[in-house]
Symmetry: D2
Subunit: 394 residues, 4 copies
C-alpha cells in the first residue's frame, strides 16, 4: 500500500463522501443511502472494495495497512459505510470467514460482503453489566434440529433493516468453565418471535437503519441447528477474537475523526475574526488547545499502528495489553480533541453546521462500548502485574 | 426562606415535574407544554410564582435565596420553566422591570410575568465572535418615529412561538466609546421583515418552541420609536447588568443538574450488579468517581452562594470577578460530573432512559454561552492583575 | 474574631515571620529557632498565644475562627510554628487536654503548651500500609507496673529534639474488634531502648529538629503504667478524633500556602518582562493559569470553612464525609496551584529564591499523610452509598 | 544496533550504575565521582564510549539508535554521566564538532570527549525571560585581539569544576535581525573576571560539580579572538541546532525515567501488603494508575522515536514541530507518571529510599528548561496555522 494510495483515498473521502454529510445530519441515514449505494459502485470499480478482507472477498490489506486506511475513512461518519467496512458488518464478515461453514459463507457472508444486505450482532443485555460478559440470560436450547432462543438484548446496532443477526446465547449453562457456556447463533432478522421492542434513542437520536440501535426480545425464536456459528461453547472465544482487530479498526477510525476535528479547528481559528484583521488563532489559549490536540492525535496514531504491528507479528492474544491500552488511550484523546474543537468553534460547534457536534455526542460511546475504559485499564494492569506474581481479576 | 420551603420545592420538582421528563425527551417540548401550563396554575396557587421577581410580580426572594431555589429547579430540565424562571424570559423580565417605561411594562412585562407569552433575546451574530460583544452589524436607524432594523442574529433561544424579542442593535455607530454604540429595542416576533431563517439543530436537535434556537434576519423591520428599551446607547451596559445575576441563576441551575447526576450515579451504582450480589458500587474506580463529583458539586454550590452574597452586598459590578470565576468553574464541574455519571451508567447513560444524555449534550453549551470559559478566565485574571498595575485587555 | 484581627495577623506574618524564610531555606530550622523563640514572646504579649486551645491554655477560638487564622499562618512555612500551633504538637496538646490525666496534663501538656518543649506522634510503621491503620506490629505489654514496648515506627515528625512521643501500640491483640486493640502511650524521647535509626530524607532533605522525620526502633522500652493516654483499647478512636479537626487545620494551612503562591504568581507575572514594557502577565496562558488558581483556591477555602462549621454544629463524627472531602479536594488544589506557580516563575520557581519550591516538594506529602487521597475518596463514597444500602469497605 | 545490545546496556545500567544511586542521593555527586570514573573505563573497554558521537570520537550511532540507548541510560540519574553523554557536555561536544576550528577541537573537544574535563553552557540570564532568547544583556566587545565580556548568567549547569564554558554574548547589538546579534564564545572557567556568585539551590539542593547550577558574573572577562565558536552572529542559530537533537536525547531520557518509575510502581504494588496476603496491587485505583502510566509512557516513547526518524530523514529544521510536540508531551507524561508512582508508594515515595523523589523534584524542570511547555505549544500551533495563512508570533 503506497502513500500515494492513501492520498487518493483521502481525496475520495473528501470529494465524494463528505458532501453527503449535511444531508445525513439533517435528514438521517435513509436520506443518503441511495447516494452511498452509488458511491459503492464507484469504489468497487476503483478496486477498493472491502480493503481488510482477503481476496477474493476484498483487497487483502494487512491489519496495519488497513489501520492507515481506516484513519482516512474515519474522517467522515459515512466513510466506513461507503467502503462496506462499517461495524458491525465487517466484524461479522470476519467471523463468518473464519468460523462459518461453507453453507453459511454462501448464504450469509456472500450477500454481506457484496453489500446487498446488512447484519447485526446481539450480545449486550440490559439486565447485565457488559464488564462481566459471561453473565448472560439469553439461552438457546436444542430441540430436535432446532435451537430455541429466549432472551433480551439491547444496543443491537444496525438491526433495523438487517438481514440477519449473530446472537450470543448460553447453550451450556452447566459447563464448569463460565467462558465455555455460550455460543454464537445466526438468526434471520425476520424470524418469528424476534421482536424489536424499540430503537434506543442514543444522545437523543433514534436514528434509522444502520445508524440505529435496537432493543430486542427473543421469544421462542427457532432456527435450524446448522445456524450455530463456529463450535458450540466457543461464543466468547470467537467474540474476543472478533474484538481484537475490531478495536484496531475503531481506534484508527477515532484517530481519523480526531485528525479531522483538529484540521477543522485550525481552519476555523484562522478564518474567524475577533476583530477586523485579528483572527481567533491569534489567541494563545486557542493556539495551545491546537498544539495539545496535535500532540495527542499523533501519539494516538502511533500507538494504534504499533499495536497493529504487534498483532500482525504475534497475534491478537499476545497483543492483548496493547489493544486494551489503545482502546482507552485513543478514546480519551478523541473525547478531549472533540471537546477542544467545539470550544474553539463556540456556538457553531454546537450546531450541526460542522460534524463536530455529531462526533461529540455519538463518540462519547467510545469510552463505553467494546469494554469501558475501566475494564481495559484493568486488563493492562493485569498484564503488567502478572510479571510480579499478582493475579488481577477483571 | 426556610430550609423547609426548599425541601417542599424539591419534593414538588420530584413529584410533579420529573414525571414529565420521559415524554419531553421522547416527544419534545410541545408534548409537555399543556402539562406544564397546568403545573404553573398549581405553583401560583402555592404562592411560588416567579420566586426571584419582586412583589407583586413574584415572591421577592433575594438573590442568594433564589440561588438555592434555582438548584432545586435545575434538577429537572423543565423545573425553571414550570416556575416561569426560564432563560431568556426571566432575564427579559428583569430588564423590563428595571429599564422599561410604564407602557412597556404594561404591554410586554405583564403578559410575560403572568406566563401568557414567551420572549426572546437577540444578541449573538453568526459573523461576529461573541467574545467581542461590541462588534455587531445589526443596525437600527431612526426614520421619523420608527426604528428601521437590519441585521442577522442567531442562537435566539425560544424565538419560535414567542410574542416579542429584545434585540441588540447598533444605533450610534460613530460614538467614540465602542461600548456606547448599541441599544436594546423591543420587536414583536411577527413584525414584517423579521424572518426566521431556520431553527439551529443543537447537538442534533432542532427542538421546538422554548426549547429551540433560531437564526433570524431583520430586513427593514420597523418598530415604533418608543420600543427603545432603556436609554439609547446603553445596550451593552444593560445586557451586562442582565447577565450578572443571570449567571448566578445559570450556575446554580447547573449545580442542581450536577447534584441530580450524582444522585442518579449513586443509585445506579448501588442497584446495578456486576455479578449476583455484587453491586457496581463495589468497584473502587466507581467509588472514586462518586467522591470526586461529591466534592466538586459541593465546592461549586458554595462558590455560587458566596458570589450571590457578594452581589447582594456590593452589587454585581463589584462582584464581577466572582461572577466570572463561578461561570467557568461551575461549568467545568458540571461537565465533569455529567461525564462521570454517564461513564458509570455505561450504555444506559447514552440512552434517553435517564436525563443524563440530555444534560450531557445540551449543557456542553455551558462553557460557551454567556461568555466562553476563556473570556471569563481573562476577566478574573484582569481583576487580579490590576492590583499589580497590569492592564489586561479582553 | 473580627476581620480586623485577621488583617493584623496577616500583617504580623508578613512583617515578622516571612523575613526568616530565606535563612530557613538556606541554613535549616536550627538557624531560625532563636528568632522564632523571640517572636513567640511577642505573640504571647499580643495575646495571640495558641489560638485554637481553650483558655487559659490559649485564645479559645472556635474551629471555624481558627480555620481563618490558620490560612494566615499557612502563608509562611514558619507561621504555625511561631504561634505554637505546628503539627504534631497542636494535635498532641488537644489529645492531652481531652484524654490526659491531671498528672499527664501537668507533666506533658503544660511545657508543651507553653512552648518549652516539643513532642512527636509515632503511629505509622514502615512494614504496614497506612491505609489499614489497625494492622500494626508495635506492641506494649504490661509487666508489673510498666509497659514494655517493642516495635518499629517511621515518619515520626519532629522527634529529634522532642521531650516525649505519643506512641500507638497494640495492647490487646486478641480483642475481637480490631479497632479496639491499640492504645496510646506516652514515651519520653530519651527512654532507654528507644533508638533513632535515622532521619528520613524527605524530598532530599533530612532537616533537623521540628522539621525532620525520624525512623525509630522500640526495643524493650519501659514506661510507667500511668503513661497510658486515655483508655486502654481506645488508641484508634482517640487518634481519629485527633485527626478530624487536625485535618481542618491542615487544609486551611494549605489554602494559605496556595493563596500565597497565587499572589506571588500575580506579582511575578506583572513584574517580569518578556520584552521591554511587555509583562509576562500579558500572555493569555499565564492569565488563564492565574484565573484557574484563583477559582480553585477560593473554592478550597469555602469548602474548609463549610466543613469547619459542620464540625462545630454536629461534631467531627457527623462531618466525617466533609472532612474527607476537603482532605483530598484541598490537597489537589494545593498541588495544582503550586505547580502553576512554578511554571509561571520558570527557572526562578525551581530555586529557593521564592518559597514555591519548598512548598512544592514538601507539600507533595499532603496527598499522602493523614490518609491518602484514595482512602478519603473511599470514605466519601462510603457515606453516599450507605444511603443506597451499599456497604463500602475501606 | 541490535535488540541484544540494548538489553546488554540495560543490564549494565542495572548492575553497574544503579548500585551507586543510594550513595549519590545520600552524599552527593562528589562521593560517586571516583566510582563513575572507574565505570567509564569499563564502558570504554566495552566499546560503548560516547554512543551518539561519530567515529573516532564515539560509537557513531544514528539519532534514533541513540534515542533507544538514551532511554536505557535515563533509567538511572547517573546513566548518561557514566557514558559521557550528560548534558551540557554532549551538546557542547556536538557544537564543537560541527562549528569548532581545528585548534578548538584539539584544545576543547578532545579532553571533553575523552572525559578528562567537563564544560558548561551559559545562556539564560536572570533578568530576561527564557522565552525571548534574543533579549540578552551579556555583551562581548572586540578590543584588539580580545573579546571583552560583561554580563550576568544563571542556571549554568555543571559550571563548578568545569574546564570551560560556552557563553552566548551579544556581539552585534545593532544588527537589524535580532536573531543575528549574538555569538558563542568559549571562556575558560578560571578566566579572571568570571565570578561564580553562588550555586543555585534547585528544589532545596545546591548540589556540586556536574550536579549543580551556577549563577555567574562576567566582569571584563578577556579571551582571545579565536575563542569565537562558529561564525559571528550565528549564536542563536547554532544554539537552536544544538537544541534539536538535544531535545530528542532529553525526551528519551525522560521516557527511561518514566519507564523505571512505572516498573518500581508495579513491583511495590505487588510487594506491599494492605493486609496479610492482600497486595496493594489488588486496589483498582492502583491498577488504573498503573495502566494509565503504561499507556502514556509507551505513547511518549513512540512519539520520540518518530520524531527522531523525522530528524534523520528531513533534518531538525523540518522536524521542528515534532520536536516541540515531544518536548511538552513527554515532559507532561514524565510528571504525571512520577506523580502516580509517588502516590502509590505513599510515605516511601517521599523518601530517598527510592529514586522517585529525586526524579520528582529535579525533573519538574523538564517543563521549563530548553523552552517552557508554553513556548513549545506555540511553536506547534505556529506550524499548523501557517498552512492556514496565520502568522503566530512566539
Amino acid at each position: 500500500m503506497t502513500p500515494n494510495l492513501i492520498r487518493e483515498v483521502r481525496a475520495f473521502v473528501e470529494e465524494e463522501v463528505r458532501p453527503l454529510e449535511p444531508r445525513f445530519f439533517r435528514d438521517g441515514f435513509a436520506a443518503v443511502e441511495p447516494a452511498l449505494r452509488a458511491l459503492r459502485e464507484r469504489i468497487r470499480a476503483l478496486g477498493w472494495w472491502l480493503p481488510p478482507l482477503p481476496k477474493p472477498w476484498g483487497m487483502g490489506l494487512s491489519l496495519s495497512e488497513f489501520a492507515r486506511w481506516s484513519e482516512e475513512l474515519g474522517r467522515s461518519p459515512l466513510g466506513h459505510y461507503a467502503f462496506n467496512t462499517q461495524a458491525p458488518d465487517i466484524g461479522n464478515m470476519e467471523v463468518l470467514l473464519r468460523h462459518g461453514s461453507e453453507a453459511q459463507k454462501e448464504r450469509f457472508l456472500r450477500p454481506l460482503a457484496s453489500g446487498e444486505v446488512r447484519s447485526a450482532f446481539a450480545m449486550t443485555e440490559p439486565e447485565h453489566a457488559g464488564s462481566n460478559p459471561v453473565w448472560l440470560s439469553t439461552t438457546a436450547v436444542l430441540e430436535g434440529d432446532e435451537w430455541v432462543i429466549n432472551g433480551h438484548k439491547w444496543y443491537t446496532t444496525g438491526f433495523e433493516g438487517s438481514a440477519f443477526c449473530i446472537v450470543m446465547c448460553v447453550t451450556d449453562p452447566e459447563h464448569p468453565n463460565p467462558y465455555a457456556r455460550a455460543s454464537l447463533i445466526i438468526v434471520p432478522s425476520d424470524a418469528p418471535g424476534l421482536k424489536k421492542v424499540r430503537k434506543i434513542a442514543v444522545m437523543g437520536e433514534e436514528g434509522e437503519g444502520w445508524a440505529s440501535h435496537a432493543e430486542l426480545r427473543f421469544e421462542g425464536v427457532r432456527v435450524p441447528r446448522e445456524n450455530l456459528l463456529g463450535e458450540r461453547g466457543r461464543g466468547f472465544a470467537i467474540a474476543q477474537e472478533r474484538l481484537g482487530p475490531g478495536r484496531i479498526h475503531h481506534c484508527m477510525r477515532w484517530v481519523g475523526i480526531a485528525q479531522r476535528a483538529l484540521e477543522l479547528t485550525c481552519a476555523y481559528a484562522a478564518r474567524r475574526e475577533l476583530a477586523p484583521g485579528k483572527p481567533l488563532a491569534s489567541r494563545q489559549a486557542v493556539q495551545h488547545l491546537i498544539a495539545e490536540s496535535q500532540a495527542e492525535v499523533h501519539a494516538a496514531r502511533l500507538m494504534v499502528l504499533d499495536a497493529a504491528e504487534k498483532v500482525e507479528k504475534l497475534g491478537a492474544e499476545q497483543a492483548r495489553m496493547e489493544i486494551s491500552a489503545i482502546k482507552f488511550f485513543v478514546a480519551g484523546v478523541l473525547q478531549r480533541v472533540l471537546d477542544r474543537a467545539i470550544q474553539v468553534h463556540g456556538g457553531l460547534g454546537l450546531s450541526d453546521d460542522t460534524p463536530l457536534a455529531y462526533f461529540y455526542r455519538h463518540e462519547r460511546a467510545a469510552r463505553i462500548y467494546d469494554g469501558a475504559d475501566e475494564v481495559h485499564k484493568t486488563v493492562v494492569a493485569r498484564a503488567l502485574l502478572k510479571a510480579h506474581g499478582v493475579e488481577v481479576s477483571l
